[in-house]
Amino acid sequence: MQYMALIYAVPNGEEGYEGDIMADYGQFTQDAIAAGVYVSGEALMPETDASTVRMRDGKAQITDGPFAETKETLGGYYLLECADLDEALKWGARIPSAKYGCVEIRPIMVFDQ
């Protein structure tokens, strides 16, 4: 099964991180590749650089940011190939930002042929 690990954290949440977060992310990615679970993964630019588009009455409405009221925002993701939810949760727990933010695990929807 494929799972998306969505990484949420408050802006600059990594400031109190103990250790070198970039090195830890590098290590995590290497481990996930070595274990054969890594499909893809990216970090995202902050919400301040985001734009939102909605189609309403056939017209595109474009707004700055989402600037949701929730403090934790989506900062990146990994797409992982795992046997089951337990394995996906185990990998999710190892993502460095899980120490100060949180990681949401969502199964990828499979459409019938």
Partner: protein
């Protein structure tokens, strides 16, 4: 006569049969429907052919066939490969069902139903539905929610298991303690749901489930929880007096306690404790056992109970455990120190009825005016028998 045999067979075997079906077909709904089909067939054929010698194996064999029939219907429009797989599944079944052993898959099923990725109320509902064979209606009644809500809760939980890939397996290694705790809390929740508003079915189911769990995977904490629940039930006959007034432990007629049940629970608890892997349920059971073996309230071994609450607090440092420790301290002969410890908990336990009841009693014991504190406790008490109990103390 057959009705009784049928009901007994369902009660005794449904958990095991469902678990085996789910293990094979990986589909909760299909398993439930197939067992339902098999029950209908049993009601039709048992009166003539007689109750089979191994009712569980009979139910499993018939359910399996019905499950395959149902899958065939669905697959009819689909491709040939699926149909061939189904033929293999069906061919799998030995004809002589009476001689067949049912594989016990309940352990895997317990861990699936109590998976932490499911909300705890869903864990409880799913456990009662699949392992204890209660209907959605019965579970809804026990937890005072509308039938439709309970149906929805069960449907959603089963869908999440399927969609999110919650595995059907027994956790291993480092995962065991946390996952076992989740299972034990579900069992204890079921027990307490049956204990406080008196639904003996739930308490009995919790005890039975704990026994099954211990039989499949004997671990000291499981034995600890079993002993804790068994000790609660052993004291149950003395819990209410003739007027249905709640009797405190202090005032209970200890001759009404089931002393042979207490003896059995203590034997099992000692066996668990001897394995030197203490946990919160073993400690709570040990505290309960000390109460049970005291001939009177005055003869209770309070210093040891206080020490056990200290040990419990180290494992689960919650305000409620701290409250119980403070109460034990008062009984162990230090009421003023106990009151001081208790007052520190005010902020975290404001709104918690037992806190105010304990505070009122301790204030009275230390010679302070306690009337208004009793009022506060009474105002937080929903059950009339408990209110009456506090009123008597207030006077």
């Amino acid at each position: 006569m057959t009705q009784v045999a049928l009901a007994q067979a369902y009660k005794a075997e449904s958990g095991r049969v469902l678990a085996a079906l789910i293990a094979q077909f990986r589909d909760f709904d299909l398993a439930e429907e197939a067992l339902q089909d098999a029950m209908i067939e049993a009601a039709r054929t048992w009166p003539n052919s007689g109750t089979p010698s191994n009712t569980g194996a009979w139910l499993l064999a018939v359910s399996r066939r019905r499950a395959v029939d149902r899958l065939r219907k669905v697959a009819r429009a689909k491709d040939e490969a699926v149909r061939q797989n189904l033929s293999l599944l069906a061919g799998d079944q030995p004809e002589d069902e009476a001689a067949q052993e049912i594989p016990d898959e309940r352990l895997r099923l317990i861990f699936t139903c109590c998976h932490p990725a499911l909300a705890q109320e869903a864990q409880v509902a799913l456990t009662l539905r699949t392992l204890c064979g209660l209907t959605a209606r019965e579970i809804a009644r026990a937890f005072l929610v509308p039938h439709a809500t309970m149906n929805q809760r069960l449907t959603r939980a089963k869908a999440k298991i399927r969609h999110a890939g919650i595995p059907y397996k027994v956790p291993e290694g480092r995962d065991i303690p946390a996952r076992l705790q989740a299972v034990l809390s579900v069992i204890y929740l079921i027990f307490n749901a049956g204990y406080a508003p008196r639904n003996p079915v739930l308490s009995a189911e919790a005890l039975r489930l704990c026994e099954v769990l211990h039989g499949l995977q004997p671990l000291p904490e499981t034995a600890g929880l079993w002993a804790l629940m068994a000790l609660h039930l052993a004291r149950d006959p003395a819990r209410l007096d003739v007027d249905n007034t709640l009797m405190s432990l202090k005032d209970q007629d200890r001759t009404l306690w089931d002393h042979s049940a207490i003896g059995l629970a203590k034997t099992r608890l000692l066996h668990a404790l001897a394995q030197s892997r203490p946990g919160p349920y073993q400690i709570q059971a040990a505290i309960s056992a000390l109460h049970c073996e005291a001939e009177s309230w005055a003869a209770t071994d309070w210093p040891q109970i206080l020490a056990l609450y200290g040990a419990l607090y180290k494992l689960s440092p919650t305000p409620v455990v701290a409250l119980n420790r403070a109460v034990a301290k008062a009984h162990a002969g230090a009421p003023n120190a106990a009151l001081a410890a208790l007052l520190k908990l005010e902020a975290s336990l404001e709104g918690y009825q037992p806190f105010h009841a304990a505070k009122a009693e301790l204030m009275a014991q230390c010679g302070h005016a306690a009337w208004s504190e009793y009022e506060r406790a009474i105002s937080l008490t929903p059950a009339p028998e408990e209110q009456a109990f506090l009123r008597r103390k207030q006077q």
